[in-house]
Symmetry: C2
Subunit: 328 residues, 2 copies
Amino acid sequence: MHKEILEDIGEKELINRLGKFMPKNQVSDDCALIKTKNENLLVNTDSLVENVHFNETSICPQDLGWKAVVSNISDLLSSGSKKTIGITISLILPTATEWVWVEQLYKGMNKALNKYGGIILGGDCSKGDEKIISITAFGIQGELELRRNACKPGDIILTTGIHGLSKLGFMMQNKINFDNNISLNKRLINKSIKHFCRPKIYPNFLKNLIKTRSNKKIKRIGCTDSSDGLFQAIQDLAIASNCKAIMNYEKIPKDKDWPRGDKWDEYYFFGGEDYELVFSLPKKWANNLSKLNKNIYQIGYFTNGEPSIEFKDNKKNKLFNAKPFKHF
Amino acid sequence: MHKEILEDIGEKELINRLGKFMPKNQVSDDCALIKTKNENLLVNTDSLVENVHFNETSICPQDLGWKAVVSNISDLLSSGSKKTIGITISLILPTATEWVWVEQLYKGMNKALNKYGGIILGGDCSKGDEKIISITAFGIQGELELRRNACKPGDIILTTGIHGLSKLGFMMQNKINFDNNISLNKRLINKSIKHFCRPKIYPNFLKNLIKTRSNKKIKRIGCTDSSDGLFQAIQDLAIASNCKAIMNYEKIPKDKDWPRGDKWDEYYFFGGEDYELVFSLPKKWANNLSKLNKNIYQIGYFTNGEPSIEFKDNKKNKLFNAKPFKHF
């Protein structure tokens, strides 16, 4: 069967086809238009590069589209976005890319937008040697500003869920031999692959924060997501907020079948791409929120001191000598 | 001398260094924040891919930075932006890229922003096989909506300046042998290289349009820029507005030393990257504007009919059998 590739289709026809994934009132023009009503806009740009952030073996185009959108909305949520307006997409694709690949990518993006809100506002497409999906996402700033630099000494450190799963899913998909002595159960394997390919995010996070707020004077709280791993998230908060994080190893939520051992701790702390929110709240607020949502975990606290991370249990500190997730 | 490359610097230090090109109040966070005051936002995304849109021979990194910003602001202006808010930058760079290259790129971007308005709002950087600069630019929609689909039969077609120069500049920089029988004068060569490397745009265009408006009821006019060539610009207007363009070959502004001949007409109409505005106005308005600004030229008109382009001088129509500028 002849596979239709972009070189056959040509740029104009490609743009025409991609236009069908946009709402009917979005006309292709030099610019996209965003209507605002005295609200502040949150903007996030992220690029996914083939063979750096993804490859054909580990993820199918529909999942990749989903994940590209979700990773951008996660950044909006971690800044306190109350509503996703939409995204613009800049695609770089080799001329030999099959049309069906592009179509599946857009289907995955639209699935994520249908689930979490927002539309495709516009974009462009160019040829290049490797596939690159660059998305800019727009959200409306809600009444609470969530910022990396807003953690305070005394704040409790919390997270919305379990880390490391996406890393395990990535290793399973790429058939990486990680530890031959461990037999993982089927449920954990499937859960991990799902976390890696179709990560979920937390559209109600801001609502629940506001609902449980103990002191209405507080307008800013410390927050980021764990897209680069839990360690990196806490380090980013500590550096931006100029305080020291004390972690409670025993309180860190793990899957019940997650294996023990230093290697598995490394996957947990440095894995990345989990899109869990990592944030800090005054004690009372933290307790209110944990009561409302049993899947939010208190994993440590911030204190005065040089920006750094320590475990309450000193023996675990050697973990942090490992290198964090980096792309250069 | 040791040349410092990105692999030596690492991602965190790179982000730190790039942060110095941002205004001091822009803190690195998950998102950039844009404050709006009940105004509509124009958003444009464009990517420049190495060996597709630029190469090391034809343009230095500082000029490339300038051009990347200017090409995005040109799209904002051609939609009726009254003010550029700023840009986000998504860079893909090979690990062997020298730091000085990145620094020069950012210097060029900041030079353009200082000249035309706007700041660097944020961005990200990833490694990849080829250099890609993807910029998203934000502007505020002014009181006139400039849109591709707003041309009307009877409107005069105008343009802000001379086309083809950027194409000639590109050929000079790449030492492409275009026509051995022609000796070009030095002034035209230098002017063309300048047009290619440091294109200029028209920040006062909207103001002058409003100043010369003959009928205040008109809120939308047809407009695009000639980044993909004059032919493509007029074709885009004709298709989006569903009308037919009649061009007057004799009225098309050319450099006084621009050579004659079919080949040179092709460079002129299909060259691209000139960033001149191509737009349409009712006759009275067009005359007012041409009187105010002698560098704005009336080059044809729109009429009822299938979307297409014709010359008044039928002999010239064979030109349009040539293939327009395309990237796939």
